[in-house]
Amino acid sequence: MQSEIKTLACFTMKMPFFKTVATLFSLLFGLFVGVSAWAQHAEGNHPQSDTAQTALHTDLTHAEGDAGEGEKFNVNETIIEHVTDAPVWHFADHLVLPLPVIVYSKEKGLDVFSSSHFYDEHHHVVEYNGYKMEGRNILIAATGEKTLNLSITKNVAMLFLTAIVLLWVLLSVAKAYKKNAGKAPSGLQSFMEPVILFVRDEIAKPNIGKHYEKYLPYILTLFFFILFGNLLGLLPGSANLTGNIAVTLTLAVLTFLITNFSGNGNYWTHIFWTPGVPLLLRIIILPVEIIGVFTKPFALTIRLFVAITAGHIVILSLICLGFIFHSYVVGVGASLLVVFINLIELLVAGIQAYVFALFTALYIGMATEEGHH
């Protein structure tokens, strides 16, 4: 009992600290994004300096800058470029990290090379080694055939980063549990413990029911992956991983597979031959139920993708306001608003992780529920 009180004391003691960190963090973020976006824009106005860079850029701002229309600023392109995947990691204009391209085709086999080969010194997309880049696809230049593009894109790199952070944090927490066996938790462990307990006691246990322990590792990993992905995605210069539809789709499909593979007779009976309903209605309900099976992962995919991407778009749009109006006043005002939106985004990061895990638990619970008719 004493250890519990100690845990509580530890946690309440640390709360203001984390709050301050979060606030500071968002302030810094707002500032950083504002400054980097400004720098990027300023760069767009001086196309001459581009030649000196080895950095690569597909931004239309630059293309237009090259054409001598530096004043024109394409908000749409800028924002979309920020929230979508890219073959390079663009931190700032002079800080672009080329990432490895991995392609596989029947004709040419497996090929690995740097994505920098696809750009010339003017940041124009060029062919390399018989490959041609077209949007996200890499085609064989000669035939125009598609290849299997397994490149380490910006989002894949972000995925690695998220996985590494997740492993580092959770493995160190696990180590702390081994070290502090029988003692009160300390440090990072005492910060993570309430979250883990929350997922276990508020998400998994009440929604899945008595078999919850079997699904707990998946739900916990899901929750923390989304949470860390969301939070890391808010960092300046980072990629929009959890706001990428491929990522959310994969997670939703995994949930869908787990749900349906653990579905018991009761679950399938409810779908194909809904009990307690007149025969005619059963036939009408059947397609509805079957569609329902697929709308669940669809809703999961769209919800997370939209929530995170929309947040990023709102922040980027606000930052772009300063460049649209060419006014410091608007820029400062928009930056203040960005700080506020960022705080909301922190909240959304937690809520979306919670919601995804909650719905996953709910669906698994529905599929494994024992009949009670």
């Binding site: 009992m1 380490i152 894949v156 995925l159 690695f160 959770l170 549990y177 707990l216 539809i245």
Partner: protein
């Protein structure tokens, strides 16, 4: 549009990395974490249960004590009551004996007094008879000093005899 369509490469990586994460974390993170959390909860529950048990034991001990105390008190009361009754009995007995003795003494005394009285009365009667005889003798002596009186008496006596 790239934003709304999922890219194959990212899906492949996401599946690989995420499944890897689930497996690695399940084995090296969630298992020890959830295990020790459960262990701790169980130990807390056990401690609480033990405390509850100890409390109950204390309560039963207390009630035992109270029972013992009550019994002792009752016994004390009984002893006191017995002693009191015994004392009063002794007291009563002593009183009755004393009374009896006193009565006997009084009776004896009365009897003695009576006998003494009878004796005294007898003595007095004898004395009185003696005195009466003496007085009568003296009277007779005086009355019969002359002959005439002697004669008269004799006649009276003779008359009385005649009547009988």
């Amino acid at each position: 549009m790239d934003l709304l369509t999922p890219g194959t490469g990212l899906i492949v990586w996401q599946v690989l990395i995420f499944l890897g994460l689930v497996l690695v974390l399940a084995k090296y993170a969630w298992k020890p974490i959830l295990g020790s959390l459960k262990e701790r909860e169980e130990s807390i529950q056990q401690a609480l249960d033990q405390a509850e048990k100890a409390k109950q034991e204390m309560a039963s001990l207390k009630s035992d004590n109270e029972k013992l105390l009550k019994e002792a008190r009752e016994e004390r009361d009984k002893i006191l009551r017995d002693a009191r009754t015994a004392a009063s009995q002794i007291h009563d007995e002593a009183q009755t004996t004393a009374k009896k003795t006193a009565d006997k003494i009084i009776e004896d005394a009365k009897a003695v007094i009576n006998t003494e009285k009878q004796t005294a009365l007898r003595d007095v009667r004898a004395q009185v008879a003696l005195f009466s005889l003496e007085i009568a003798e003296k009277l007779i002596k005086k009355n019969l000093a002359n002959d005439k009186a002697q004669k008269e008496l004799t006649e009276t006596l003779i008359n009385d005899l005649k009547l009988n």
